[in-house]
Assembly symmetry: C2
Homo-oligomer: 335 residues x 2
DNA sequence: TGTTATTATGAAAGTGTTTTCATTAAAGCC
DNA sequence: GGCTTTAATGAAAACACTTTCATAATAACA
């Protein structure tokens, strides 16, 4: 098979079999229009050269292109990776290539959203934790590209989301049930503009729970800081040093909660006795650190997204689905 | 958009904006080479017509498919993810799609290696931390698929690797220089059979360093355990409980080192006073945990792999490159 | 046998883009 | 003002096929 030479073209096959390229093309696309003898000769040449038509990829596998795209924020946050893992695992069993489009700016997101539906050559698209404008939704629908949104629902497209408000609420209720009355909140603020801010929803849940319990919180207890463990550590220190410090803290992401834990260790602060800490996400590292947290089934969300996508590709007439994944408290040692 | 009409081509845009198709092409591919006024006019025409370049025609003219594949072990270990991140970041600036092939069994690896060069429709391939048999190498070379191997060098293909032996050696030497004489080793053992085992090389470096220092180590000090933090914790406990315990421990992966750190916390063991710990990899989490470790530039290795690959795609006649990345001690608080 | 259909085939024109090369226009310099 | 650079642009070739159209060869029929 083709030792070292360039990939054979239709011309090589023509030379080999002594007919013109037109005939080769016909053998491939309309075999019945070619005389049996000639056809046989061409097939032999094709086999001998190991010829694979370039555009064959297109005609391959029925009408499908065999590719599924995932637009994801550039994976700095572990939660993106964990979702992606669920996607990769589920998809690897199917006969689809996984094409990754990482977004690191609004521009890039826009460019993906405007070109992929037209030219991306995709059977389906998953958009992870990124906002999709009305015009983009329309384009996706117009071009009939099966799509699943994660964390950013839209009535016209399939979606998988979690109930962030409820998550914030049950985290706070959990702390309340443990007897805490002075509960601080630490959220991330400076996620890049192109990405989503579930933190606000989690904060809302926190406020709801407190209000329902008739508890007033000094506004210094609510801290929105850059998504950075160093900052989380500083905030922890500041909170603890307050004249009347909180007894518990709800961190809107595990990543920040881990920063607080580390600060606590450095300050010799006993967790959870002196400060109870609950996180959100249930990252891999949360288990390792015995962090009490809200589990949002990151792997699972990726898996479900793929499943919805595949079923929608198989039957595009299927009505759009909106799935809300449950959140649950995972009780470990920090709260 | 696209209401019944044919999709607009570069010719339509040329007519609309009153310039030649060459200029349109330039506006799209090298905007800076076109006068600002003209450029503006072309952009307007593009917007007005809703023009989108046709990927297939583009690939044909470019003699490229616009796709680069990465075969990677299914990303359980954070180190794979970090390499992948370097790849994604570097590639996102180029005009290539990133196709991910995750491997979770030997079978799957074999099937990728045998089909991708033929039908994968790829311009280049990166094979991450996976063994490639002689026959597979031959196939890759025969079909002239530009390839870069990471962590598994082969004379006929480009490669990026790190010096694991040296890494093991300098880690051990670092501990020796700190005055330790009783140094334990913790490595991972049950990586799936299809994946690579740099642990043996790191262990070799460890042995070399000890031998050079004329130090004999009880063989119970060398532990090979499943890649699992729980096990790492158990091992840490066992080592400490020995009648004559080690004063330092070199863990072949940060992941295991972190498990040891946790065990130490639970046992109330002072680190590094009672047990110095050094890891290997310099994962993101290592910095967070102030783990002293051997840095192997994971992100960078992905970046370099892509750079080599792209230059090789641009000029396939270029001789193969073998890059060995340096390893360095990153001194933090645990050793 | 001469005429008409039918079948098999090749030449050549498309397909939509990139890129090289040549040309023109503008700018810089003495 | 003449000469040399430099910038901006278009013409045309290349890419790897598909498809149309014309032609040659064969078969069918009177």
């Amino acid at each position: 098979m083709n030792n070292g030479k360039k990939a054979p073209t239709i011309f090589d096959v023509a030379t080999e079999s002594g007919v013109s390229i037109s005939t080769i093309s016909r053998v491939i696309n309309n075999p019945e229009k070619v005389n049996l003898n000639t056809r046989q000769r061409v097939y032999e040449a094709i086999d001998k050269l190991g010829f694979v038509p370039q555009a064959e990829a297109r005609a391959r596998a029925l009408r499908l292109k065999g590719r599924i795209g995932v637009i994801t924020p550039f994976f700095t946050a572990p939660s993106f990776v964990q979702r992606l893992r669920g996607i990769a695992r589920t998809l690897s069993k199917e006969n689809f290539d996984l094409v990754i489009y990482t977004v690191d700016s609004n521009n890039r997101l826009q460019s993906y959203l405007s070109t992929l539906p037209l030219t991306g050559n995709l059977d389906g698209l998953i958009i992870m934790s990124l906002p999709v404008a009305e015009a983009d939704v329309r384009r996706l629908v117009d071009h009939q590209l099966s799509t699943v949104l994660i964390e950013f629902p839209h009535p016209q497209l399939n979606s998988v989301e979690i109930n962030d408000v409820e998550g914030g609420r049950i985290a706070t209720e959990y702390l309340l049930k443990k007897g805490h009355r002075r509960i601080a909140f630490l959220g991330d603020t400076d996620l890049p503009e192109y990405s989503l801010h579930p933190v606000n929803l989690r904060l809302k849940g926190y406020r709801q729970a407190l209000e329902a319990a008739g508890i007033d919180i000094p506004h210094e207890f609510v801290r929105l800081e850059p998504y950075d463990q160093e900052r989380a550590r500083m905030v922890a220190k500041e909170l603890i040093d307050m004249p009347n410090p909180p007894t518990a803290l709800f961190a809107a992401t595990d990543f920040q909660a881990l920063g607080v834990l580390k600060a606590a260790r450095q300050l010799g602060l006993k967790i959870p006795e002196q400060l109870a800490v609950i996180g959100f996400d249930d990252l891999d590292m949360a288990e390792y650190e015995d962090l009490t947290t809200i589990r949002q089934h990151l792997d699972e969300s990726g898996k479900i997204a793929i499943e919805i996508l595949l079923s929608h590709i198989a039957d595009p007439s299927r009505p759009v689905q909106h799935i809300t994944l449950p959140v649950t408290v995972i009780e470990r040692l920090t709260a």
